[in-house]
């Protein structure tokens, strides 16, 4: 097991280096002078010359790349020109909001997607299968940004039930401990703030989670459908177990591996989906930070956010691979 983990981690290092190269190349090959790109519009000619000197833009490309890489490895992703803060700190400030939103989106997707899929798979071609399949196609075909706007229109606008923008009502929250607003409020035992936070997160989490819900439902359905034909299900039935027990104790358990795989794979899609959903709901996460950075042409912030998102994605995938190997020894000894 240790050997497998070591091999996977070492295998990831070249990928990370190549990713940093690709991101570096984006800045290099973008039309215009990198010095112009990396400095604000108010920079004077002297400023630009000074920056060239400082960042070594007069030096060969490989030297520049080396400087970029070593700085990035030390956690220096540059300074935002709009806010004059270190990029890494800014991303760190916004990240908990994104993770919190993603967590609730996954929760919604699993709580609704998996049972629907299990019921649909247990009774193919029944009415519940048709309802489930409808939700499946609905989820995978629904553009999250439009769904979000429609939720705002109906739930916040017509029905006036839930707030449509932001993360909390001003003044209810205590000082952050972890940055996860709802978790912090629980730690402070501030239930008013917990409910407030939940009311803000429901709509964006639904908008973000619907796509994953659809995919999860479809995968669970086909996975359960496959398992239901296996001998062990027949044996369980022959033993006289109730259909409920056969389904949830035996069939569902064996159908879990593909379901976990899809949750893992979809985490990445969720990360990029959050960029759009955060923009729709003015959610103060790292995704909306990226869009703000693009709109204000804050290139160090764009580069930093893209790099941070990609690294997160790589680390999530690596973790999932290692978890699988722990669960299923066949993966460890395979290719």
């Amino acid at each position: 097991m240790f050997q497998y983990i070591a091999r996977r981690i070492f295998g990831t290092i070249p990928v990370i280096i190549l990713i940093s190269m690709l991101v570096f190349m984006l800045v290099q090959f973008a039309p215009g002078d990198p010095a112009d790109l990396l400095l604000s519009d108010e920079a004077t000619t002297e400023d630009i010359e000074a920056a060239r000197e400082r960042w070594g833009l007069n030096q060969p490309v490989y030297v520049q790349y080396w400087k970029f890489l070593t700085a990035a490895l030390q956690g220096d992703l540059g300074t935002s020109f709009r806010y004059a803060d270190p990029v890494l700190l800014m991303i760190g400030d916004r990240l908990p909001a994104t993770i919190e939103l993603a967590f609730f989106a996954i929760l919604i997707a699993i709580v609704f997607g998996v049972p629907l899929g299990v019921w649909a798979g247990a009774r193919p071609n029944s009415w519940i299968d048709n309802v489930g399949s409808f939700f499946g196609f609905f989820g995978i075909s629904m553009p999250s940004f439009w769904f979000g706007i429609m939720l705002i229109l109906i739930v916040s606008g017509f029905l006036n039930l839930l707030p449509s923008a932001g993360r909390n009502t001003y003044g209810i929250a205590d000082d952050p401990i972890t940055g996860f607003y709802i978790l912090d409020s629980i730690l402070y035992w501030n239930w008013k703030a917990v409910l407030d936070g939940l009311s803000f997160i429901i709509l964006p989490a639904i908008a973000l989670g619907t796509n994953m819900l659809g995919i999860l439902m479809r995968v669970t359905r086909s996975s359960v459908l496959e398992v239901m034909h296996e001998d062990m299900v027949r044996t369980a039935r022959a033993k006289g177990l109730s259909e409920h027990k056969v389904l949830w104790r035996h069939a569902f358990r064996n159908a879990l591996i593909p379901i976990i795989t899809v949750v893992g794979l979809e985490l990445g899609t969720l990360l990029s989906g959050s960029i759009i959903v955060e923009t729709v709901f003015s959610w103060p996460g790292s995704g909306s930070l990226l869009i703000e950075a693009i709109n204000s042409r804050d290139y160090p912030l764009i580069t930093g956010t893209v790099l941070a998102y990609t690294l997160m994605f790589v680390i999530i995938n690596l973790t999932i691979d290692i978890i699988y190997a722990a669960i299923d020894p066949r993966i460890r000894f395979g290719n």
């Binding site: 990928v15 075909s141 553009p143 940004f145 229109l153 979809e266 990029s272 764009i302």
Partner: protein
């Protein structure tokens, strides 16, 4: 309506070989999906003929008019500068169609070609191509596209490159897997022993076997390309603002959502039904061609 048994028997007896060949294709999924896709094509191709107004003609005396339905002047209403929404939807379909088809074709050609070469030659060639795949695939979906447009600026060409940049990979993976197993098959050995060149073997013996899978992946890639294009346009990173697109219409309409719902509602409905139609069609085609391909698509970005 009841059909008697005699009538039913005569119907099936009369069915021509053509109808029988069509049989597996007449499933609800494929028919419904096909109708939506046809609608998109008709709207896109005939946009200039069926649009009641110029999609960019502004009429500041008639801004934010609600849908007039059959009797009104503007069937689906007007936007914040008085442009006719129905006409903009027709022209928006054109952009979606052009971009989606171009992206899918380019991704398919690049992906299948690289996959076939990678799988056929195996060894170092395969290793190199697969490392490249791994690196490009390591970026979260859509993020690389957003970064490319952010750095290189808006434009149709840039947008297409941004959408192709990760979309060729599913083709490449499946094509590689199939080519790897095909290269050791007897008919390939036979061709090689007859003195066929690598080029000829890949072109005439490997590629034809990869097309069915590519077609299925292509439909799902088309659905995801339409959503991605709309997402980028929605974020203001799509084609230049002068060209009407569904995503940009949605972004404009978002500002007026509390007073004029129709601005954001109709373009979204179009995106949803188009993507739904393509997904249904793709799912139906996969059931017919190859049920084993079940996990190779369906995601959106």
């Amino acid at each position: 309506m009841e059909i008697s048994i005699e009538e039913r028997t005569s119907l099936s007896a009369r069915s021509s070989p053509f109808m029988r060949a069509l049989g597996p294709w007449l499933k609800p999924k494929i028919v419904v999906g096909g109708v939506f896709v046809m609608l998109l094509c008709v709207m896109g191709i005939f946009a200039p003929l069926i649009s009641p107004y110029d999609p960019n003609a502004q009429d500041l005396l008639k801004t934010l008019q609600p849908p007039g339905w059959w009797g009104g002047e503007h069937f689906l209403g007007t936007d914040h500068v008085g442009r006719d929404i129905l006409s903009r939807i027709f022209f928006g379909a054109r952009i979606s169609l052009v971009i989606a088809v171009t992206v899918v074709v380019i991704s398919g050609v690049v992906g299948v070609a690289l996959g076939a070469v990678s799988g056929y030659f195996a060894g170092y060639v395969d290793f190199g191509i697969q490392k490249f795949v791994e690196v490009v695939w390591a970026f979260p979906p859509l993020l690389l596209a957003i970064a490319i447009v952010a750095f290189f600026g808006q434009g149709l060409g840039i947008l297409i490159i941004a959408l192709v940049v990760q979309r060729w990979i599913p083709y490449c993976r499946v094509a590689r897997g199939q080519a790897l197993s095909l290269r050791t098959r007897d008919f390939v050995d036979a061709a090689r022993s007859l003195g066929a060149s690598h080029h000829r073997i890949i072109w005439f013996h490997i590629l034809p076997n990869l097309l069915q899978a590519a077609l299925v992946i292509g439909t799902f890639a088309m659905a995801s390309a339409i959503i991605s294009e709309a997402s980028l346009s929605f974020l203001g990173l799509g084609v230049p603002p002068k060209i009407p697109t569904w995503g940009a219409m949605l972004a404009d309409g978002r500002t007026y959502i509390s007073t004029s719902w129709w601005l954001a509602f109709f373009p979204g409905v179009c995106i949803f039904f188009t993507v739904l139609g393509i997904n249904l069609l793709g799912d139906g085609m996969r059931d017919i061609f190859d049920p084993r391909l079940k996990r190779s698509g369906g995601g959106t970005g």
